[in-house]
């Protein structure tokens, strides 16, 4: 009996992801990829006895239907897609032992937008450029699952059943409003003072054309500083144009008047300014926010961002697990 998973229905866009993503190839134009909500991803992995960065499945908006071709442990975290085994619902954030032949069904996300499915031993697809993370649009590391596709699963001795304590799980906004920590820079000096204040006091609406490439926002217009208005022509005509430069993960990229937050599958470089950048430990919120929901940005400095990182790091370690 092979240790595999078979795709019955693929869901909306289910992809293999792995941490830290495809490091070392940004300079050739390959995005980092990797799980959009790394907090939930790591918790799914520790629940099945894996190293927390092991390859697992990211399910977007609507989860897949899968059959397990061998006995293994599974755990589901993140957005609630009503997971059920052979028709019987089961709790998230809990290790579940599945038997060969059982079928997992998942539906539309009732809370959040992305769910993570980890299996003991991890997904064992062939790494491409050092990573199993999938960049679906260019087919790097594979594509989103298709019906009939089988996925190899690594070996594992894990058998312990765990529960992740409630107070360590990410809290998904239920009022459709997300407070997201952000830092000024790298190009905040291209905006006028009033616009920087405006950015942190506005309710930004997430547009429907949002994905793992970018989260597009609707809100007021931006005003520019002298640096943006009186610059060398090499930068381009629009105030938001800059000589092509690197794009940090989580950058709030301003193309004309449309802010787009660049996330896991975003371009590595380009010719627009990035006045703000989301704190790395707050990126998971963008993964769980749905189109038409609201983002409010809270200004933090590097120390504030470090405190958030430390908090999430502590909550994604196996020591916090409780016995089921």
């Amino acid at each position: 009996m092979s240790r595999t998973i078979t795709t019955v229905k693929p869901g909306l866009q289910t992809c293999v992801q792995e941490l830290p993503g495809r490091e070392g190839f940004l300079e050739q134009g390959f995005p980092l990829s990797g799980p959009f909500d790394a907090w939930s991803f790591r918790q799914a992995n520790i629940l099945v006895g894996n190293d927390r960065d092991t390859a697992a499945l990211e399910c977007q908006f609507m989860g897949p239907t899968l059959t397990f071709d061998a006995d293994m442990l599974i755990a589901i975290t993140g957005g609630d897609m009503s997971p059920a085994l052979d028709g019987a619902p089961f709790p998230m954030y809990t290790t579940v032992a599945v038997s060969a032949g059982q079928m997992l069904t998942m539906g539309f996300a009732k809370t959040g937008a992305r769910a993570y499915l980890a299996v003991s031993g991890g997904i064992a697809t062939e790494p491409v450029l050092g990573s199993r993370a999938v960049f679906h649009q260019a087919g790097v590391g594979g594509h989103a699952l298709v019906a009939g596709q089988t996925l190899p699963v690594g070996g594992s001795e894990a058998s312990a059943l765990h529960v992740l304590p409630e107070d360590a799980r990410p809290v998904l906004a239920t009022d459709r409003v997300w407070e997201v920590e952000a830092l000024c820079g790298p190009n905040d000096d291209w905006l006028d003072e009033a616009t920087i204040e405006m950015f942190f006091s506005t309710d930004w609406k997430i547009q429907s054309k949002s994905s793992r490439t970018g989260i597009r926002l609707t809100g007021p217009d931006f005003g520019f500083s002298d640096k943006a208005l009186n610059k060398s022509p090499d930068h381009g005509q629009d105030p938001s144009n800059i000589i092509d430069h690197g794009y940090p993960m989580g950058a709030v990229n301003l193309a004309g008047q449309t802010p787009i937050i660049l996330v896991n599958d975003a371009p590595s470089t380009g010719g627009f300014i990035n006045p703000f950048t989301i704190a790395s430990a707050a990126l998971w919120k963008l993964a769980q926010a749905k189109p038409h929901e609201t983002l409010r940005f809270r200004r933090v400095n590097r120390d504030g961002a470090a405190a958030l990182r430390a908090e999430i790091d502590a909550k994604t370690k196996p020591e916090i697990l409780e016995n089921a």
Binding site: G29, G139, D234, I243, D244, P248
Partner: protein, 288 residues
């Protein structure tokens, strides 16, 4: 213009933008690549990724391993040690890319855009107008008259930013506003002072002037030139565009389809930066 000192701009809690200068030119870009190479060689603990660009580079780092301030100091020290001189030689491959200028695929793409934005001047005519060129034939001659420097890669796997090495062959072009939602794979585009070759069908903003049937990206590594890398270009390569007619274009297309196509890559030349800069200055003076 090269700045007096490096300028550091934090990009969140895990990235730094390091700006060396304010312009799209060979000298600044060459110093960017030298400094990036020095930073890479220094093997600084906590340094995760480097993205050299035209006049700046991005450093991704692990802030739980090295602080923003310490990393900036390390990079400043390496820059001070390196000096700001532009000299020396480097191995630089010369890659010849066949192009069918003003081909059907890119013309159709331009026309599709003009259905939504009829006021947009067709790309070749717009470039001719802005650069004082009488017609398409003159644009083709100017574009194919120089070697190009691969200044950076990015935005999409394998997408290159090419700078004309002959100052007299510099062509400038505005970017599409709003951008195109689709560009044919292999399209040759101009934006700012740069040329690019679209490695895949992607959105885009460069003005289109032709098409190459020779792949610059091969995700499945099917063709022999892609056994070591998915992307054709590396920073520091040089590129020359060779105008081809429809007959040669179709022949290359057929060889790509059957998997036998080989790029024309000259891999034995040394590029002397000092001699290049002297030559470029002489070219500019001669044209005055």
């Amino acid at each position: 213009m090269l700045h007096e000192a490096l300028r550091f701009y934090p990009g969140g809690d895990r990235a730094i933008e390091v700006e060396l200068g304010d312009g799209m030119d060979f000298t600044i870009n060459f110093i960017v690549h030298r400094l990036v190479a020095a930073v890479r060689e220094a093997k600084i603990a906590g340094l995760v990724d480097l993205i050299p660009e035209l006049a700046s580079f991005q450093v991704n780092y692990d802030p739980d391993c090295i602080s923003y301030e310490d990393l900036c100091h390390e990079i400043e020290a390496l820059y001070a040690e390196m000096g700001r001189g532009v000299k020396g030689s480097l191995a630089s491959r010369l890659i010849t890319i066949p192009v069918l200028y003003f081909d059907e695929k890119t013309e159709a793409c331009v026309e599709a855009y003009r259905k939504d934005y009829p006021e947009k001047t067709p790309d070749p005519e717009l470039i001719c107008e802005l650069n004082g060129l009488p017609d398409r034939a003159a644009l083709r001659r100017r574009h194919a008259s120089t070697e190009y420097w691969v200044a950076a890669l990015g935005f999409w796997p394998g997408l290159c930013s090419l700078l004309a090495l002959n100052p007299n062959a510099r062509i400038i072009a505005p970017k599409y506003n709003p951008p195109r939602t689709h560009t044919p794979k292999g399209a040759v585009g101009l934006g700012g002072a740069l040329t690019c070759i679209y490695p895949d069908a992607t959105p885009g903003g460069y003005q289109l002037i032709g098409h190459t049937p020779a792949p610059t990206y091969d995700g499945s590594q099917r063709l022999p030139d892609f056994t070591d890398s998915l992307a054709l270009f590396r920073a520091g390569d040089r590129v020359r565009f060779k105008p081809v007619d429809l007959e040669e274009y179709s022949d290359i297309e057929a060889r790509v389809a059957e998997g036998t196509f080989r790029h024309d890559i000259v891999d034995y030349q040394i590029f002397s930066v000092d001699r290049y800069l002297d030559w470029a200055t002489a070219q500019e003076e001669a044209s005055k």
